[in-house]
Amino acid sequence: MRTSALALLLACLPLGACSNYELATGMDARADTAEADNEASDTGASSDSPTLLRLDVYPSNYADDLENQSQELDYRDSWSDLSIDLDETITISGQVSGFDASPYIDIAVPGDEAEPLSATVRAEIPGYITGAAVETDEDGFWELTLPAADDYLFSVIAKEANLPMYVLPSTSFADGDVVNPVLDYGLPIFGLVQQSDGSTLGEDTWVRLVDPETGVSGPAVAVDDSGHYMLRAAEGTWLVHLEGEGHRYVPTRTETVSVTEEEGSARLDFDMGQLEPTRVYGEIFDASGESASYLPIRFTALDIGDVPGELVIERETTRDGEIDVQLLPGTWQLEALPTFDPEGESSPLLTTFELTGAATLPDITLPGRVELEIRVVDQSDGPVQGVAIAAQERGFDEGIYTTVTDTNGEARLIVPNVALDVRLTPPDATLAITKYGLTDPAAHADATIFWDLAQGQLIQGILHTDDEPVQYAVVQLVDEYDELVGTTTTNADGQFKARVQLDR
C-alpha cells in the first residue's frame, strides 16, 4: 500500500441513498409484500398532471417510406379513437460552401470567393425524434430525407474549417427544396486560457461556440500550446464552451460573449484558477473477489474549491483492477460501472470521498446481484400472465433487466443491487402499463414482491399514411415532462391500444 495524505470521509453508498428522486407514497399495503420502497409511482390527480402526450413512432420495414417521427396528442382530443396520419417523407438537398481564407487550388485572391465545404447538415424539431443529419460529400453536396413537418431547426457545421455555424430556426421544407448554405468568414472571438500563475493547460483543451437560443454547437477548436484560441461567429451574443479531453482534469466552463460588426472582434479570456492535480490510487474487486479488470469508472467533482467549472473524468481500471488517476483536491463522487451483462455477478457502486493530497483509496469491492421473486396481479388480485417486467438502473449506465411473468403471474429476476425504476407492461390493454420504484432491491431478497397493475387511461387508435395502415411500428408514449410512460406497437391493421398511468 502507498502512503496516504488523505482525508477520506464518506463510505460507499448505494446510489438510491444519494438520489434526488422522490418516490410517491400510497403503496398498496399487503402482508406479504416487501415494504418501504416498493411503491407505485403517483397516479393521483394533481395540478402537475400531464396534459400532453407525445407519440414517438418508429416505423418498421412494412412502412419503409416513412421516417421516425413524433406526434403530439392534446388533452382536448379523444384518446380512445385516434386516427393519426403520419407525415410523409420529403427529400431536400443542396451544397454547402464557405469562405476559404487560404485556397490552394486557385491561389488568385485568397478568400475571394466561397469554396465547397465539408460539413454536417442537420434538420430536427427540438424535443422530438423528428429529423435527420448527414455529412456532405467532399464537394459539399448533401441530401436529407425528413418527415414533412414544420418548425425544423436547420443547422450547418463546418467539419474542418473554423467558420461560423449556419442556423435557421423554425423552418419548413417542401419536397425537392434546394438549400445552399454559405458560411461566411464571420468575426473573430479570441482569447487566452491560462491558470492563475500564467501557465497554460497544454494539449487536449478545446473551445466551441454554442448558440444560446437554439443550443446548436459549433465545431470544436483546439487551444494552442500558448493558451490562445480563436473562433469565428456572426454578429451577436454567444456562449463559449471550454472543455478538456474526457480523461483529464480540466474543468468544463461556459462563458458568454458578444461580438459586433462595429467592434470587429471580441476577446474572452479564461482564468482557470490554479489546477494542481494529485495522484489517486486504489483497487477495485468484483463481487467474487477477483480484480475488476478494465472496469469503467467515472469521477464527478462535487466541490473543487475555488476552481470554477464542472468536471467529470471517465477512465478504466487497469488489467489488475487498479485505479490510477490525477484529480484536483476536493470532494469527488466515484461510480464503478460494470459493463452490462445479465449473467454478471457484480453491481454498480457509488462512493464519495474527499481529497486533500495524494491518496490511496481503501479497497473497493462491488456489491453482488439480488434475485427478486415477483408476482404481478390485477385489480382483483388475480395473477396476470405475460407481463413484461423491465427494471432499469436509476443512474449509472441505466441498464435494463427484463423478464416475463408466467401463468401464475410470477417471475424471477436477477438485478443489480442499486435503485431501480420498474415498468410493468401487460400483454393487452385491459390494464395499464404501470411503474414502480425499488430503491433497495436487497431489502426484498427474502420475500415475494407483489405489484398490481393500475387501471390507467386508454389510448387507442390507428396509425396510417393516406389510407395505408402503418404496420408493426413501435410507439413510445412520452409525457410532457419527457418521461417514457410506456411502449406499444401497431398490429397488421395499423392499430394500437394501451393503457397508461396518466391523468387528464
Binding site: Y58, S60, T339, Y401, T488
Partner: protein
C-alpha cells in the same frame, strides 16, 4: 426365418424463430444522428413468444446492450445514444428459441455528429 419389425422412426423437428419486422430494415445502415430505437418483431411456429431470448450486441466491441421487451412479447428493442465509438461498428441481434435454433439480423452503424 421370421420377420424383424422395426418400430417407426420419429424425428423431432424444431422450427427456428423468424424476424418478420424491424427498424432499421434488413440490409440498411443504422444512422445514429440522435438517440434512436432499433427493434425487431419475431415469431416462432412451435414456441410461444415469451420463450424467445433476445441478445443485442455491438460486434467488434463485444458490448452487450440492455434491451426492452415489446408488449405481448412480440419482439425486443434497444435504445442507442450517439457515441462516436460506435461508428463503423455493427449492431447485431440474435433471437433464440432455447432449442438450439436462432435467427440473427445486423446493421452497420454510421454515426453522424458535428465535429466527428
Amino acid at each position: 426365418m421370421g420377420c424383424f419389425h422395426w418400430p417407426p422412426l420419429i424425428l423431432e423437428t424444431n422450427v427456428a424463430p423468424e424476424i418478420y419486422a424491424s427498424n432499421p430494415s434488413a440490409g440498411e445502415d443504422l444512422i445514429l444522428d440522435r438517440p434512436t430505437v432499433a427493434f425487431v418483431f419475431a415469431s416462432d411456429e412451435d414456441d410461444p413468444p415469451e420463450t424467445l431470448d433476445y441478445l443485442w450486441w455491438v460486434e467488434g466491441a463485444g458490448t452487450i446492450l440492455s434491451h426492452d421487451i415489446l408488449p405481448d412479447s412480440a419482439g425486443s428493442s434497444v435504445t442507442l445514444t450517439v457515441d462516436t465509438a460506435l461508428h463503423d461498428q455493427t449492431l447485431r441481434v440474435r433471437v433464440a428459441d432455447g432449442k438450439n435454433d436462432s435467427v440473427e439480423l445486423s446493421w452497420p452503424i454510421q454515426v453522424v455528429q458535428e465535429g466527428l
